[in-house]
Symmetry: C2
Subunit: 157 residues, 2 copies
């Protein structure tokens, strides 16, 4: 009669880790957001890039790669997709002939506020389950974690 485990060894369960709960909640929020913006024809990564360009007038792909915590290869493909959708434009850098500048098109600029509203809505839909004070506490705890570990890049995966 095979045993499933040696009863003498107590093994931590998956849900014994805070990382488990972080991933569970984070995933639900992100997937919810992905669903809420797919009607606008964009993905979460695309939203992040568009939102960053909204503040920057124009940016080099390599700069976006650092900001977004993605490889330059990924940014290259991501911007290809956004070019196909006519949400951004690509121009040669006048000073550096290797470099490019990415900028929002009018359509891209018009889309960002809509997506931002959906982001707001998604966030409050999920986190209203906590009271307002607990939302603040959660934010403080997460920012403390980010601070302690020097987390800077916008995460996507």
């Amino acid at each position: 009669m095979p045993v499933t485990s040696d009863p003498g060894i107590a093994l931590s369960a998956l849900h014994d880790h805070l990382g488990y709960w972080m991933r569970l909640v984070s995933n639900a929020v992100s997937h919810g957001f992905a669903r809420s913006i797919e009607g606008q024809g964009v993905t979460v990564a695309e939203w992040v890039l568009l939102r960053m360009l909204f503040d920057q007038e124009s940016a080099a792909p390599s700069h976006l790669a650092k900001q977004m915590g993605m490889t330059k290869g990924a940014i290259s493909k991501l911007s290809d997709r956004l070019l196909d959708k006519h949400l951004i434009a690509r121009a040669a850098d006048t000073a550096d002939r290797r470099a490019h500048r990415l900028a929002l098109t009018a359509a891209g600029r018009a889309l960002v506020p809509k997506l931002a509203a959906l982001a707001d809505e998604n966030d409050s839909r999920f986190f209203k389950a906590l009271g307002p004070e607990d939302q603040v506490r959660l934010g403080n705890l997460l920012r403390a974690m980010a601070e302690a570990h020097g987390l800077r890049n916008t995460p996507l995966s």
Copy 2:
């Protein structure tokens, strides 16, 4: 002189959303864990499947798909990889000729405690940045979120 945005419109920033901080931290924890177990030759998804089998003696792929929140196609490929690594074994279900049973091999069973130790280590390495009380608070907030939204499946993506 082009403007980057209409100053009359205040747009929420990426980091104004709790979802942003959740993803930032969750991602760092998960990637840290992925790195810490890659020396053992397994991925996070593989770890989760192995850990679940550790408690169950044997399980049907379809059952694991529900438990892990993945499609049956993904489980099919995931178990192929674990079979190749000789960490699990696949047997025909005696009662249902469509179904299979997956179970840990001796090697798989021996590996799980090592991975569990790495999971413990990774979790405490990250969350020790918070004090013990704050760790408890964070866990309570996350579980409250999971409860409120009926989140059940172990998330992976």
